[in-house]
């Protein structure tokens, strides 16, 4: 597959995620949209990894493997982030009974 297809697909997914972050007020959905963004990046990284693998002139068997490992670490981080994030959202919900981010504007100006 031409790499451009992957690039544009990922960018499109990423931007949908961004748009989600921008348009939604539910903290959980926003968080999900961020996960969507991360996944689009993962896809792109894997695609690039395969691109570099294919382009490796010397036939290095491991060429491009770092991209996929990076994706692995992104998943690791995302998992940690989600656990912390959901804990925070839950704590907030306990205190305010709301997950509306616009409800949170004590801190401003």
């Amino acid at each position: 597959m031409p790499i451009n297809y992957y690039i544009f697909l990922s960018v499109a997914l990423f931007c949908i995620g961004v748009a989600g972050v921008l348009t939604r007020r539910n903290a959980i959905i926003i968080f999900m949209c961020i996960e969507l963004m991360l996944n689009s990046v993962n896809l792109l990284l894997v695609a690039f990894s395969k691109m570099h693998h294919a382009a490796a002139v010397t036939g290095d068997p491991n060429a491009g493997i770092n991209g996929q490992l990076f994706v692995f670490f992104i998943m690791v981080v995302a998992a940690a982030e989600v656990s912390v994030g959901l804990a925070i959202i839950a704590m907030l919900y306990r205190n305010t009974h709301s997950v509306d981010v616009n409800f949170l504007n004590r801190l401003k100006h």
Binding site: G20, N39, I65, S83
Partner: protein, 164 residues
């Protein structure tokens, strides 16, 4: 076949992603997001990144999204409780996302990578064997260090979640 699958998965991914954003009901959003993860795993398989495909399903679709679902259910969020956003801000959000897409595409349109291919099918770097060797040899440091990350996430979750 690959071509077809690619377009199908892509279209489905985009559609599901849009649905994630526009679904009123948070539970639907979660479900659509799981669909997105599945399509992305499909892409991984097309790219012969089998390990990541599986991990993606287990970690993301399996663990993370279940966690999300759990929380949503726990809070009893549904379409009715979903806060409505100001129309203008919504519009601004869509325009913002669209504009970002536009500039990114504009910036990458002439990328010199446009003639390169991502190898589908072939190549075995995505296999668990190769990844495992690399992970525990060259990548042992980040691997170990990510344990700190998990530790802190764990401690954090406890600190935050514990009832006082």
């Amino acid at each position: 076949m690959t071509q077809f699958l690619f377009w199908f998965l892509s279209a489905l991914a985009l559609f599901s992603a849009i649905m994630v954003v526009i679904s009123k009901n948070p539970v639907h959003s979660v479900l659509w997001l799981i669909v997105v993860f599945f399509t992305i795993s499909g892409h991984y398989i097309l790219l012969n990144a089998q390990f990541l495909a599986i991990v993606n399903l287990i970690v993301y679709a399996g663990a993370i999204m279940v966690l999300f679902l759990f929380v949503i259910m726990l809070m009893n969020l549904n379409a009715e409780t979903e806060p409505q956003k100001n129309k203008w801000l919504k519009m601004a959000g869509v325009i913002g996302g669209g504009a970002l897409l536009l500039v990114l595409v504009a910036a990458l349109k002439h990328a010199d990578t446009r003639n390169q291919l991502a190898q589908t099918g072939g190549g075995d770097i995505g296999l668990i064997h190769n990844l495992g060797i690399a992970l525990f040899k060259e990548y042992v440091i980040p691997f170990e260090i990510s344990s700190v990350l998990f530790l802190s996430a764990m401690v954090g979750a406890v600190v935050i979640g514990k009832k006082e």
